[in-house]
Symmetry: C6
């Protein structure tokens, strides 16, 4: 991890928290072009955890690998 400092007052962190509370489905594009869709369970300085439809365990996405985040619908 690059840093454990993670400022919850930053606009990006706050917007992700809003989308989490609203249960929004996110479409996340990774640097390699791969896309994932899902709602956000939590975020920390290293990962976003997305809910999976096929498991009660989330999938961890490295923030470092993320290029774009959009809401769907």
């Amino acid at each position: 991890m690059e840093s454990t400092s993670f400022d919850p007052s930053l606009p990006g962190v706050r917007l992700l928290q809003d989308w989490l509370r609203q249960g929004r489905v996110l479409r996340i594009e990774l640097n390699d072009g791969q896309c994932l869709e899902g709602s956000l369970r939590w975020q920390d300085p290293e990962f976003l955890a997305l809910n999976r439809s096929d498991s009660d365990q989330p999938v961890l996405l490295s923030r470092r690998a993320i290029a774009l985040i959009r809401t769907l619908g």
Copy 2:
């Protein structure tokens, strides 16, 4: 995130704020060659938020994934 220190006096941050205030349409190239166009809603140390024509929610672009930023028109 790599750092929450974000110096608003830096030329790059200031120029992006100018472009935001002027409502300029930006063309942003990502490291994978993908291009996005839109006006800037806000910036923070981790993301640029671009306005979308098809949603009131912005798209978040990781600063880390950005190669080039140009104004259009």
Copy 3:
């Protein structure tokens, strides 16, 4: 290494420790699209160490190279 600060209270680090204790088989996708499967032996700020079926020595995965982590089964 980018940092030796590694906060064991972070949700991502804690979830990986849970998966380690449960002996879960993980499927880890790297930035280049390659996938590895195995259970976690330990984690530190630079690497995840996965158990190998063909050696008593683990394989070291750079955290920096990791895009996604999922549990299998």
Copy 4:
């Protein structure tokens, strides 16, 4: 941005400033193989700003995306 510390006494920063003052045309190769040519308007810890022939606004190149910098001519 990774850091706002930017040491103007470093050889690389100084050489770029020399090239700026001399109005040298630079050829900059990005990590994805793309090349840009132009003279330097300014540098900061996150970006190099190159002059454009088709606009009074510079193009911003992320330092992170830069692989090589050469002078032309």
Copy 5:
């Protein structure tokens, strides 16, 4: 370099030192898919130095470029 702090008590650094002392041949995969094999001469926060069969000078591998490290045999 991102940091000169390099904690020799970390499991990953210690395991690499063990492999060095044991003279293990390592197979190292880089982010671009390239593989190198060789025994470790030393490590520092920026590089691993691998012994070469065709030179008394080591080859330097950037830690940043490393995806996976495995022992052979």
Copy 6:
């Protein structure tokens, strides 16, 4: 730049300085597979400066873009 701290006592920095003093021709592989050859003029925390045969100005290589460094001959 990620850091201006650059420890000249590190083995990698010292070995590069040895190769510089010896005028060794280096073969440097970048993350995108591109190779450059040349002798080292200087190093700083952000760049290696290689001598060019066709110019008195060096070429700047971002340390971040470097995967491997070998001596030739």
